[in-house]
């Protein structure tokens, strides 16, 4: 079975977010980039399923410029077999989805996995776009994925519960907790990752449908109003009369 796992390169969660002076772009200076945490679930689950089947391949795909390669290598170190980088700045979800669909169409992948969303642009869109572009089912967000032959059984989160869904390959799923315990690379993985193939391809087209006009930071909090623990009940009065939330 051929797995395609899409990863995005995002600022580390603890990053303090700042923007360029014109507020048009995220300020990358001094920022550590990581594999999007949700994508790690997709990657690890694909590797686990490949191992369980004892055959198949896991290909990692990233749409990004050359500076994303350390994280692509990290994905290879975790256990992917090979990687593709579409050499482009990811303009918006539609642009990225088109690149993924184009690679997927040519590569004959059975299962396309990705994280639920990226922790930078929080779009939660790419999975559905890829599914629709390829005309195959999408399951989003998936909390569990098992395969038996060409049939996958997934648990999809819904508000207040879950749906158990069965789909046949090919399909797209966006992954989230508690799908698996994301793996971290070991020494052997890091050594072998250096020799695994990483193919760089040029993007197909440059179509995007959205553009960020400006970024902004949320207004600063006013500061916390402390209530002494002895008179904790006062808090409830403040929540009713001052904050008006209860």
């Amino acid at each position: 079975m051929k797995f395609l796992v899409c990863i995005s390169n995002v600022p580390d969660t603890t990053t303090k977010i700042t923007f360029t002076p014109d507020n048009k772009e995220f300020n990358k200076a001094g920022v550590q980039f990581v594999i999007n945490p949700w994508d790690e679930y997709a990657l690890t689950r694909a590797i686990e399923l490949k191992e369980a089947q004892g055959a198949g391949t896991v290909t990692v795909l990233n749409v990004g410029e050359a500076d994303t390669e350390p994280n692509i290598r990290k994905a290879l170190a975790i256990g992917a077999d090979d990687a593709i980088r579409v050499n482009a700045h990811p303009k918006d979800a539609f642009f990225v989805a088109q690149q993924i669909a184009s690679i997927a169409k040519d590569g004959g992948y059975d299962v396309i996995l990705m994280g639920k969303e990226s922790i930078d642009y929080n779009g939660f869109q790419v999975h559905g776009m890829v599914g629709e572009l390829l005309g195959i089912p999408t399951v989003a967000p998936a909390m569990k994925l098992d395969m038996s032959g060409n049939t996958a059984t997934l648990e999809r989160e819904i508000e207040g519960g879950k749906e158990i869904v069965e789909v046949n390959t090919p399909f797209v799923a966006s992954c989230q907790q508690p799908m698996c315990e994301p793996r971290i690379p070991n020494m052997r993985g890091i050594m072998t990752a250096r020799t695994k193939p990483l193919k760089v391809v040029e993007p197909t087209g440059d179509a995007a449908r959205t553009e960020v006009a400006a970024f902004a930071l949320p207004p600063q909090k006013q500061g916390v109003k402390l209530i002494p623990a002895e008179s904790a009940g006062e808090l409830i009065k403040l929540l009713r009369n001052e904050a008006k939330v209860i």
């Binding site: 969660t13 945490p37 599914g131 999408t138 959205t210 909090k221 209530i227 904790a232």
Partner: protein, 325 residues
């Protein structure tokens, strides 16, 4: 040309987040000098759909196909696309829910529309451009996004817009068939499992949330969280380590890798306020933090705080709520 609003229903009722979406859609329609039609998904009663008039909706399209009761991506996408076509909708508004995001992203390709999710404000339409404000960087920033093209899809974040209540106004409910075939239900769920929600309140939809962290020491102490939640009519939540060790179910875990909530009130009890936790709660309107460590990072994000022991403070709060009611 019209605005199409997708309303999600459950057990015959329109979800609260969909009342917000309907209000958003009808205000956009007004801005553009047109009307807003809704299309219902899920299990809906006609009487409840008619009440969408209170949110400014003039007409509701209702496909009574029983298999639409549970979420089916293929069928929902086809139904909404057919409704959009019928109404010549240039703008489609839906909830930024698991359903909204799943269907919205597929629809954006099918209808060749631009799409913005996680939207927190009504659009700005100056000078021919159409811009919406959306959350980004896990709640640490906002982005003004310009939506291009003739058709646009907007997924509205919960609790970011006030639902309208124009008493007595009703919408006209119209039978509608998208002529769904068996093939459209190929990805229908084999089974739907609903989880027990504390007090019957769904966490992603809740206005008030009481949440516990590792400072609660163990599952045997959760009655303190539940008592306060019950008195307030709030949902309960927890931090990741709490669900990791199974003190609480996974679906209560909020944060960057859990559920994102934006209630009017979030009360954090014995939670340190790690950045990954904040990512899921920092768009709450009012944040209350109870922690015995005055240096806990959560106090920086809080509106109100009590430096104290949760075991001592929580019963006092519950008592005070009971006295107030």
């Amino acid at each position: 040309m019209s605005v199409l609003v997708v309303v999600e229903c459950d057990g015959g009722e329109v979800k609260k987040s969909s009342l917000e979406v309907a209000s958003y859609g009808s205000q956009v329609a007004q801005m553009l000098g047109t009307t807003a039609t809704a299309v219902a998904v899920g299990e809906a009663t006609e009487a409840n759909l008619a009440k969408l008039g209170e949110q400014g909706i003039t007409k509701v399209l209702h496909d009574a196909e029983p298999r639409l009761k549970d979420f089916v991506n293929g069928a929902y996408t086809k139904l909404i696309a057919a409704a959009a076509q019928k109404e010549d909708a240039k703008i489609i508004v839906l909830a930024n829910s698991n359903i909204g995001a799943s269907v919205g992203s597929r629809l954006s390709i099918r209808l060749q529309a631009s799409i913005a999710t996680n939207v927190v404000e009504l659009p700005k339409t100056d000078g021919g451009s159409f811009t919406v404000k959306r959350g980004a960087f896990s709640g640490k920033a906002f982005a003004d996004v310009k939506l291009d093209g003739d058709r646009k899809i907007i997924a509205v974040k919960k609790n970011s817009i006030e639902a309208l209540h124009q008493a007595g106004k009703t919408a006209q409910v119209e039978a509608f068939s998208a002529q769904l075939s068996d093939a459209d239900f190929a990805d229908a769920p084999k089974q739907v499992v609903m989880q027990d929600q504390a007090g019957g309140i769904l966490l992603p939809e809740a206005d008030l949330v009481v949440s516990g962290g590792r400072g609660m020491k163990g599952p045997e102490n959760w009655n303190l969280i539940e008592d306060l939640a019950k008195a307030l009519g709030a949902a309960t939540a927890c931090s990741k380590p709490v669900s990791d060790v199974d003190w609480r179910p996974h679906h209560e875990h909020v944060g960057q890798t859990g559920i994102t909530v934006s209630p009017n009130l979030y009360i954090a009890c014995g939670i340190s306020g790690a950045i990954q936790h904040l990512a899921g709660v920092n768009s709450s309107k009012v944040i209350v933090v109870i922690n015995k460590d005055p240096e806990a990072p959560f106090f920086k994000a809080a509106d109100y705080g009590i430096v104290g022991d949760v075991f001592d403070v929580l019963p006092k709060l519950t008592q005070a709520v009971k006295e107030l009611n």
